[in-house]
Symmetry: D2
Subunit: 145 residues, 4 copies
Amino acid sequence: MEYRNPDAVARMRADFARQGAMASMGIAVADVAPGRCVLEMPFNADFSQHHGFMHAGVITSGMDSACGFAAFTLMEAEAEVLTVEFKCNFMAPAKGKRFRFEGDVVKSGRTLTFTEGRAVALAGERETVVATITATMMAVRGLKP
Amino acid sequence: MEYRNPDAVARMRADFARQGAMASMGIAVADVAPGRCVLEMPFNADFSQHHGFMHAGVITSGMDSACGFAAFTLMEAEAEVLTVEFKCNFMAPAKGKRFRFEGDVVKSGRTLTFTEGRAVALAGERETVVATITATMMAVRGLKP
Amino acid sequence: MEYRNPDAVARMRADFARQGAMASMGIAVADVAPGRCVLEMPFNADFSQHHGFMHAGVITSGMDSACGFAAFTLMEAEAEVLTVEFKCNFMAPAKGKRFRFEGDVVKSGRTLTFTEGRAVALAGERETVVATITATMMAVRGLKP
Amino acid sequence: MEYRNPDAVARMRADFARQGAMASMGIAVADVAPGRCVLEMPFNADFSQHHGFMHAGVITSGMDSACGFAAFTLMEAEAEVLTVEFKCNFMAPAKGKRFRFEGDVVKSGRTLTFTEGRAVALAGERETVVATITATMMAVRGLKP
C-alpha cells in the first residue's frame, strides 16, 4: 500500500494530537506506515473495570483509533475519517503492564475502508492477544464539528 | 424479567463504583431495573476525538457498561460478568450536552446473556440516537483479578 | 418513512424475483412498507444443519434479504443495494414450522443505510425470536454484474 | 493445535454429511486440520442474488460452516457445536467460478471458541477475498434436536 497524499503522516499525527480521549487515556502513537497504525498505552487503573482489568471500552478506544488512523493514512488530502461500525471480540482479560493496539487496512475504497486490528497485552516477555476488532471506516468531506 | 438475587442492585452499584473507567469518564448510573441499566454522562472534551465529538470508544464504554450491568442484574449471586463480544454502529456524530446509555437484556441464559443498547445524545429538547450496540455477556464464577 | 421513488415496491419485487437464492430456499415476500420488508419461509430439511435445525447461514440469508430490501425501498430509482456488513446473534435453535424474517431501516442516508432485523420461528401459536441482525447496506450506482 | 478427541475428523465429516444445507448449496469439505476447516463450492446460479453474484447469505453459510467445523475439531467427544454469533464484512461482489471458505480457530475454550474465516472467489489464476467473518462458537452437551 502507498500513501495517496504526501502529508498523510503529518496530518494523521496532527489529528491524533487533537484527540482528547487519546491523551486522557495515555495512548500514544508507536508506529505509522501506509495502511497501518500502531498505538501503545501503559496500564492505567483510572481506566479499569471492576476486576482491575482495563475496561473493554478503553481497549476498544485504542483499537478503534488504530484502525481509523490506519484508514486515514490512505485517504486523500481533503478527507476526514469517521467510524461507521466495529465488532470486537474479547478473548482474555485485559491485564498487563502495557497494551499495544494494531490497526491494518484490509481494503481501501474511495468511500469505505475495511480494517482489522487487535489489542495485545504485554507483561515482561509475554504477549497476549486480548481482543480483536474489525471496523468499517468512512471518508467524509466537508465535515463540520 | 425478575432479579434472581435479592442483592442484585446493591452488588451492581458496588461493582460500578469500582470501575475506574466510569469515574474517569464521568459516567454515572441513572436507572437500574431487572434486565435494564441506564447510564449518563455530560459532554467532556477530555474524551473527544479530533473533530470535537465524543470518541467512539468512549461512547462504546458507556454502552458496554450499560449492557454488562443490565446482564448482571439477572445473574446469580456468585457470578461475575465479562464482555465476550460486541458490535457497534455509529449513525451520527456524538455531539450533545449530555449522553444517555441504555442497556437491555434480550435473552438471559445461565452462561451467556444477549443484550442490546444505544447511546442517545441530548441537546435541549432534542434526543438523537448516535450509536447502537449488541453485546454478548458471559457469567463467570471464581474469576481472579 | 416515505418512498423516495414511486416504483420502489415494484422494483423491489422484481429484484427479489431475480434472486435465485430466495427461490431455492423457498423464501417469499410477506409484506413491504417504506423502510420495512418481511419475508417468510416454511421449514425445509434441505437447508438444515446437522441437528435438524435450519442452518444459521440460511436464517441469515432471510434476515439479510429482508434488511437489504427494507433499505432498497427508500433508495432513489437509479440505486442498487449491496450488503456492506452484518452481525447476527443466534439466541435459540432455529426449529419451527415456518420462519418470518423482518427487516427495518434504522437510518437511511444517501450512501449508507443502517438496518436491523430478526428471525422468528413459528410453531402453532408460539413465536420465538431465534436470531437478530444489524446490517449496513450501501446504495451503489452503475453496478455491473 | 491438536485434536482432543481421536475421532474428531470422522465425527466432523459425519456431521457435515448430515447438513442438508451444505449438500443443497453444493458445498464440500476440501481440507480439515486441528482448528482449521476449508470448504469449497462451485458457482451456482440457484443461490445468486439479483445481480448474479452469490447471495451474501450463501457466502455466509459457507463461512459459518467452515468456522463451526474448525471449532468442532478441537472439542471433546461428547460436545456439539452451535453458532452464538458472527460478524461478516463483504469487500467485493461474490463473483467467480468457485469459492473457497476457510475457517480457523483463534482461541479454543471449554465453552466458547473464537474463530475467524474468509470467502475467496476463484477465477482462473485469480483469487479475491470477497468476505470475512469472525464467529463465536459454543460447545453444548446433551443437545436435543
